[in-house]
């Protein structure tokens, strides 16, 4: 029996259209728009001014606090303006506009392809490098990596788990990265392992990627500390809590941090970025993005500089089809529908998904028939139908009592509901409201 998490879960159709497509490098944009808030936490503070010349890898903005991340230029050229740009959610957010001129990199970056295995840095120095490079969780949550690598006092890490699950349908970026940069990922894993001083690292891969499992197993044979763990295909296995449960059979206590189980989870893309940052001195300014969709001519995996507008990526894969009604940044289960394709790529953008008009609209909701399929699907063991009703009645006490704060917003409930009820919409609202109530209570 393959390992998997123990509660709930669903099986959305995988639709990995771009699987096996070699990573192509996307063209440089004419103007890169680099958002100052590409991570969870405080926005970064700009350290360049209009008219400044920048190179690829130049620091553009300094982290605005401990939970924040540095932002580096992904292109070389002149800072055109520091203004606002429309983000994925349609809000105006501060951003740095850079007019691209050529492709000149900072001299400190090692651009060679040679694999550098040796590293003499100690754990503190590694975390410092990661922090300097502005690395955030590349799975989509964009939580600054150095924060997770600095366990809070009282907590000790015992195991590193690398998340190569890629349970979101359609997305293949991590899969392809493992196939092409497996050796680098393993070095990155070793660095992360060193950074948190643990003996063991496990790379969790769902068994719908047998080639990646075989490839990584072969490479990992040289590392006694790294284990490849094939996992049964089930959504949302890529959720941090679910992955820990699947791999080491320990559940993060309700309301607690994942570190309470002794596990630190990092995405496989993050491991690669860590390798580049520590061994090649290259900050995080590009990432692999899966551009896909049933109607798209050439679903691909692209290596994209942060700040490239989404429309340029879509054009590189055959252009936006006429019948497109929805464009999603991320995967279909947790991604965000974008307002416009002019929005720039950010560090957290793992995919661009094109949805045809046939599938883009929700069906009309009907009455709840209490079939409890949402309860069976919820990986956190909540009762989404009860939460939705309580939220609708604004009964916040009840919403809190039903443990709304445990929700990981994976969308399994809405996915599975035969009555097409927008369960997650309401649960999310309830979670936001109860979160605010709890914060104001704690402030007192």
């Amino acid at each position: 029996m393959l390992k998997t998490f123990r509660i709930g879960g669903v099986h959305p159709p995988e639709n990995k259209l771009s699987a096996g497509q070699a990573i192509k490098t996307a063209e440089l944009p004419k103007q890169a728009v680099i958002m100052l808030s590409q991570h969870i936490g405080a926005p970064a503070q700009a350290v360049v001014a209009k008219g400044d010349k920048v190179k690829v890898g130049t620091l553009l903005a300094q982290a605005g606090g401990f939970v924040s991340a540095n932002i580096h230029s992904s292109v070389s050229g002149t800072v055109a303006k520091i203004d606002t740009a429309v983000d994925v959610a349609g809000f105006q957010r501060p951003a740095i506009y850079i007019d691209v001129e050529g492709d000149e990199w900072e001299e400190s970056i090692d651009r060679s392809e040679t694999l550098v295995k040796e590293c003499n840095l100690d754990s503190k120095a590694i975390v410092e490098r990661i922090k300097e490079a502005g690395i955030v969780g590349l799975g989509g949550a964009t939580f600054p990596a150095h924060v997770k690598l600095t366990p809070p006092p009282g907590a000790t890490a015992t195991i590193l788990i690398i998340n190569a699950v890629e349970c979101e349908p359609y997305l293949t970026a991590d899969h392809q990265l493992m196939m092409e940069k497996g050796a680098e990922i393993l070095v990155g894993t070793e660095l992360l392992r060193k950074a948190i001083n643990v003996e063991r690292a496990v790379i969790g891969i769902e068994n719908n990627k047998p080639d990646a499992i075989a490839h990584m197993k072969e490479l990992a044979a040289a590392y006694p500390t790294i284990e490849i763990c094939p996992l049964k295909v089930k959504y949302p296995q890529g959720g941090e809590k679910q992955l820990i449960d699947a791999v080491i059979r320990r559940q993060v206590p309700s309301g607690g941090l994942p570190i309470a189980t002794g596990a630190v989870v990092q995405n496989v893309g993050t491991a690669f970025a860590v390798y580049e940052a520590v061994q090649k001195n290259k900050p995080l300014f590009e990432r692999i993005v899966t551009v896909t969709g049933k109607s798209l001519a050439h679903p691909s995996n692209l290596k994209v500089r942060v700040g490239t507008p989404l429309c340029q990526l879509i054009d590189a894969c055959g252009g936006l089809p006429e019948d497109t009604e929805k464009v999603i940044s991320g995967g279909p289960m947790m991604g965000k529908a974008v307002v416009s394709t002019d929005t720039p790529t950010t560090k957290g953008c793992s995919g661009v998904l094109i949805i045809r008009d046939l599938e883009s609209r929700r069906k009309e909701m009907t009455a709840c028939i209490r079939c409890a399929k949402c309860i069976a699907a919820c990986p956190m063991g909540l009762a989404p139908n009860t939460l939705m009703n309580a939220t609708d009645h604004k009964d916040w006490e009840r919403v809190e009592k039903e443990h709304v704060m445990d929700c990981i917003e994976c969308g399994s409930c809405s996915f599975t509901c035969p009555a097409h009820r927008p369960l997650l919409d309401y649960v999310r609202m309830g979670k936001a409201r109860v979160g605010a109530i709890i914060r104001s209570r704690n402030a007192k």
Partner: protein, 318 residues
């Protein structure tokens, strides 16, 4: 701003499941039992089932359209299912007018007074059935004997059911194999345990229902009747095959709306039904107790839902 995109919260895909798919799935699972009753009771089974379905759908339509003034939702299949289940719970020689009254009670009182699909507390088909049983005890308990492909409807030959005979303390002549196949007297859809089990297997494979309710009912009923009926294994086994036990456990008790929502709750509910059924069969006035047991546990469902919560991830013991 080139194109007017659609923006909606995640998730952006759906399983494709729908309420009507669930309902039609249950209907498909009922086909084997229907075929057996067509064979055993002939034209009567067809007339009763058709009347019941048409009446239920018509009443649902009329009530939604003219009384509740909402968009009729008869296409979701729930009224058809209620109709079929009501028909399966009555004898095949029941006069048409009684069936229509049953359908009116099932849909009108059992379902629509509570606000329609999803809000009813009691299984509508059983409300209709129990109403008929109390109002027309004679017609509801004259069971036709199986007569393969008979063309007799109201004038079918009748006899007591094995369950009725047991109640009177008479010996039961029917064989266990007859009970499995359906060669016994009884309500229209309940006679063949095998056909009902095929339907159960289908629903399990299609993931329409889970095993918890039927299995807990059957196991409880078996164990309990084994204990109270003098440790007789075959007798206890026959209790499972006779009367509405299989039909009730597989199709009536598992009704989404009126059963608990968590696996643990489902097992408590199933145990309750199993116990009550055997208690009524053994000590009550009626030979059959399945309908009453399910209705009683339906009433307990909100309470079970309130106190039995799903097993949470990373639950912290206080």
């Amino acid at each position: 701003m080139s194109q007017n995109f659609i923006v909606s919260p995640s998730p952006h895909v759906h399983s494709g499941n729908s309420v009507s798919k669930c309902m039609y799935g249950v209907l498909i699972a009922l086909i084997p039992a229907f075929l057996v009753s067509l064979y055993c009771f002939g034209i009567g089974a067809l007339v009763v089932t058709l009347t019941s379905v048409l009446a239920c759908v018509l009443f649902e339509y009329l009530i939604q359209k003219y009384l509740l003034k909402v968009k009729p939702s008869i296409c979701d299949g729930s009224a058809i299912l209620t109709g079929v289940l009501l028909a399966f719970n009555v004898p095949s020689n029941l006069p048409i007018w009684i069936i229509i009254i049953g359908a009116l009670v099932a849909i009108g009182i059992g379902k629509m007074t509570f606000g329609g699909l999803g809000n009813n507390i009691f299984n509508p088909a059983l409300v209709g059935r129990v109403f008929l049983l109390i109002s027309f005890p004679v017609q509801m308990t004259t069971w036709p004997v199986p007569d393969p492909l008979s063309m007799n409807y109201l004038d079918a030959e009748t006899a007591a059911t094995p369950l009725g005979l047991m109640k009177q303390g008479l010996s039961v002549e029917a064989m266990t194999t007859d009970m499995l196949l359906g060669n016994i007297g009884g309500s229209l859809g309940e006679i063949s345990a095998i056909a009902l089990l095929i339907g159960f297997a289908y629903m399990l494979i299609r993931r329409i229902i889970t095993w918890h309710i039927p299995v807990s009912i059957l196991v409880t009923a078996f164990v309990f009747s084994f204990l109270v009926n003098g440790f007789d294994v075959e007798g206890a086994f026959q209790q499972l095959l006779l009367g509405g036990m299989m039909l009730g456990a597989i199709f009536m008790a598992t009704d989404y709306v009126t059963s608990p929502m968590t696996p643990r709750g489902m097992i408590i509910y199933g145990i309750g039904i199993g116990l009550l059924t055997i208690i009524i069969r053994r000590y009550g006035a009626y030979p059959e107790g399945m309908s009453f047991a399910i209705l009683i546990m339906n009433a307990a469902t909100p309470l079970i839902n309130k106190y039995v919560k799903p097993k949470r991830f990373g639950e912290v013991k206080k």
